[in-house]
Amino acid sequence: MRRLAVDRRALRGAAVSLLAVVLALAVSLLVIALSGAPVGDAARAMWDGVFGSPAQFGATLTKFVPLVLAAVGWVVASRAGRLNVGLEGQILAGGTTAAVVGLHLSGLPMAVHLPLAVLAGAAGGAALGGIAAWLWARRGVNDFIATLLLTLIMTQIVSWLANGPMEEPTGTLGQSSPVADSARWPVLLARTTLRWDIVLVVVVVLAAAYVLRRTVVGYRLRLTGANPSAAKATGTRTRLVGVGALCTSAAVAGVAGSSLVLAAPAGNLAPGFSANYGFDGIVVALLARNNPLACIPAALLLAALRQGGGLMEARVGISSGLVTATQAVVILLVTGSAWLVERRRSRRPAATAAEQPARVTEGAHS
């Protein structure tokens, strides 16, 4: 339902973001130089880390998959005005249920077993998100806090499962056996870690963009996020929308979790397999300004930083703290520059924003 003018704005935004990325990388190198490390080597390591070999590039894309999925999860909830900061926990939940299905069902063809395991992942994520949604809708618990606390609990549960009920037969490794082959994603690029689960990205991103823009449900979701009081007054069941958005968001995170098990080299359940993807997903969504399609380039950037940073750490011996700081610089510059440009370009958006009463959109139960 949008037109040219908006597209031009989006294009300008993309150009600015790109520029900011380049600038940010330069600044990062400067920081590295100041720390006394060899800049040339560091830059080369970063580059090699991302593009150096098919294996490296495959590894970057492997990291990209759960990042995008988690980001889309965030977008779905936040467009409805809900803050699902517990994506991390939902990834753990989804990975666990996917592992259960992968481990305990056998003799099924892959065409049945794999989709079943992925769906189990979605269901697992949605179940955990559903608890938070219930707490929010029925008990008035803040969604931010509910999802976050459930993540802490889920972390403990996974670590207990991996060291107890689900541990492999020898009982020494602190993780489960690999799931059945029929439940694992086939390799996409030989000699890399990249598997076919990357098609999930395409499906989920397109579906999210389509639903938000083109369906009644998506419309009600955006409306609820934009002004819950007006939505409610005109017949949208905002509470139901909030619950639905939280559950869907969590289901997408659950799918990300299933990938982290079913497409991992080890293909099993190990404590901490969520590896912070849930939180980084939020960063990706912020970079993408809650636009599902923009999550793809944003996630690529973050995946590259993660992957390249890893090699930089290994090869040049830069401390991991510095690598993290570098990533933070990039993120700050990208988000900050977009904001600055928007403010400077004209005072029009600032003026209209100021014209609104400060707290229109905050519902009583936010």
Binding site: A5, V216, Y219, L223, T352, E355, Q356, V360
Partner: protein, 508 residues
């Protein structure tokens, strides 16, 4: 340096003047070479249709918006464009159409914030000045209560005091009376006259010709972003203003059609709402409204009319009692359309597009989706039709509603809620912020709704509006309906007496 600005007749140097101010939003010229002068001690009215560019001009004068070209000067000295701090320092104070107060801060804190104090500030001193200046001008405010808990009239007084404490020499007021009851407006009119007598230059935007006649010295009329003319108020009859502004004759009074009453559409039984504003209870209220009938609800602001409208519209839940709406044909449940009093809170999603805002209610209709998938072509045609029929001035269907002028935002709500012939129309301040042409149009729409057999519950602070449209008039006081009169028996005096009997004023 340009020569010090002089008004056209060269009488006194202008306190504030604008020269050839132009501002374009996309394809739309919001301000097109506007010239304006206000002298010290003068009240200049600014009159124009919804979307004529009045608020845009105010934002330019106060530095909130940077004009594409043109110049603003204060006392002859040019102001840097688009610099609110500089404008404030030069003595320009503004009360915007939509208030700019931080809701959970007190009056004192809001004033301190506006003074640009950073870090530590002397709260006691600011509070003392606020109270003192308030007393001096007869504008009492409670300095220690969070602004969100105060009635609009008091919030507006805080906005004005905020300007006065900032040593404003020019005061710009954008539709201040839109949120006021008639009594509150009378008070404000006195205050403005006093301030002008003390030498302030005042620009007053209003759609009410009576207010211009009452307080303004001169009036600048704008249409489509251009100045049509600036005239002496005393020498101009009201119809002339309306004609200059709209470009055609406006019927200021509409004939009220009389329709044979149909079956009862709205049943209100024992409706009660405990503590709607701190300590007051609403109800119990019992009402019946028939198809083809308009029931007007009159009362002093704060006596429960707004809450009654909210309860009937279903946006608030009553403590006890029921609201039932039946179809105008006599059986089955009926549909309700609601024109919410606070459009920014309950009526619109400001960041979303015109289309999205027009579809809020109709989205569920089978015509606009197939198997849950929207049909953009149909939706656009429907919205384009509504925009044309209700004469919404917008740059496009995809424009965010936040960028529409106040009156045009109101038209969006009207267009949406009147679509599809609701059985009951709950209209709370339906013409607030509309120009005379648009008011004429809305009144005609309400009359058409009535002629078609729909029921209407009308809440309005404008007694004129109540008289113009209502078949029966309910008078509220202290949360109760104290009387329901036939329009034929109702006189201004009688209603005034009933409103005052046991009424608690807007400000305790």
């Amino acid at each position: 340096m340009p020569a010090p600005s002089r008004t056209s007749d060269g009488a006194a140097p202008a306190a504030l003047s604008a020269r050839a101010v132009t501002k374009r939003y996309g394809a739309l010229l919001a301000n097109d070479g506007i010239d304006l002068d206000v002298r010290p001690g003068e009240i200049l009215a600014l009159l124009g249709e919804n979307g004529a560019g009045k608020s845009t001009l105010v934002k330019i004068l106060s530095g909130l918006v940077r004009p594409d070209s043109g110049e603003v000067s204060v006392g002859g000295a040019p102001l840097p464009a688009g610099d609110p701090q500089a404008a404030r320092a030069a003595g320009i104070g503004v009360v915007h159409q939509h208030f700019m107060l931080v809701p959970d801060m007190t009056a004192t804190e809001n004033v301190a914030l506006a003074q640009g104090t950073t870090g530590r500030y002397d709260a006691a001193a600011i509070r003392a000045r606020l109270v003192e200046i308030g007393e001096r001008h007869g504008m009492r405010v409670r300095p220690d209560v969070p602004v969100e808990a105060l009635p609009v009239g008091e919030r507006q007084r805080i906005e004005i005091l905020k300007c006065l404490l900032g040593d404003a020499r020019v005061l710009l007021l954008d539709e201040p009376s839109a949120v006021l009851s008639p009594a509150e407006w009378d008070r404000l009119a006195e205050v403005l006259a006093e301030l002008a007598a003390a030498g302030l230059a005042i620009v007053l935007i209003t759609h009410k010709l009576g207010e211009i006649a009452a307080v303004a010295d001169r009036c600048t009329v704008v249409r489509g972003g251009r100045v049509v003319d600036t005239v002496e108020v005393g020498a101009t009859p009201p119809e002339e203003f309306a004609r200059m502004m709209v470009g055609r004759d406006v019927v200021l009074r509409t004939e009220r059609p009389v329709v044979p009453p149909g079956p009862v559409v709205l049943h209100v039984d024992g409706l009660t709402l405990a503590r709607y504003r701190g300590d007051r209870d609403l109800g119990p209220v019992d009402l019946r409204v028939r198809g083809g009938e308009v029931l007007g609800v009159a009362g002093v602001e704060g006596n429960g009319q707004s809450e009654l409208a909210d309860l009937v519209a279903g946006v608030r839940t009553p403590t006890a009692g029921t609201v039932t709406v039946t179809a105008r044909t006599g059986g089955g449940p009926g549909r309700t359309g609601t024109i919410a009093e606070d459009r920014h809170c309950d009526g619109l999603a400001l960041p979303l597009s015109v289309t999205d805002n027009l579809m809020m209610r109709a989205i569920g209709e089978p015509a606009f989706s197939r198997a849950g998938v929207l049909r953009p072509g149909r939706i656009r045609r429907h919205c384009a039709d509504l925009v044309a029929r209700f004469d919404v001035r917008t740059t496009g269907l995809d424009t965010p509603v936040a960028s529409l002028s106040g009156g045009n935002q109101q038209k969006i709500v009207l267009a949406r809620e009147m679509h599809g012939e609701p059985d009951l129309l709950v209209a709370a301040q339906p013409t607030r912020g509309l120009d005379v042409g648009a008011i004429e149009f809305v009144h005609a729409q309400i009359n058409a709704h009535k002629t078609a057999g729909g029921a209407t519950l009308l809440v309005s602070a404008e007694l004129d509006e109540i008289f113009a449209l209502s078949d029966r008039i309910a008078v509220m006081s202290s949360g109760r309906v104290v009387a329901v009169l036939d329009a034929a028996d109702a006189t201004r005096d009688r209603i005034g007496e009933l409103m005052a009997a046991g009424a608690e004023g807007a400000t305790p």
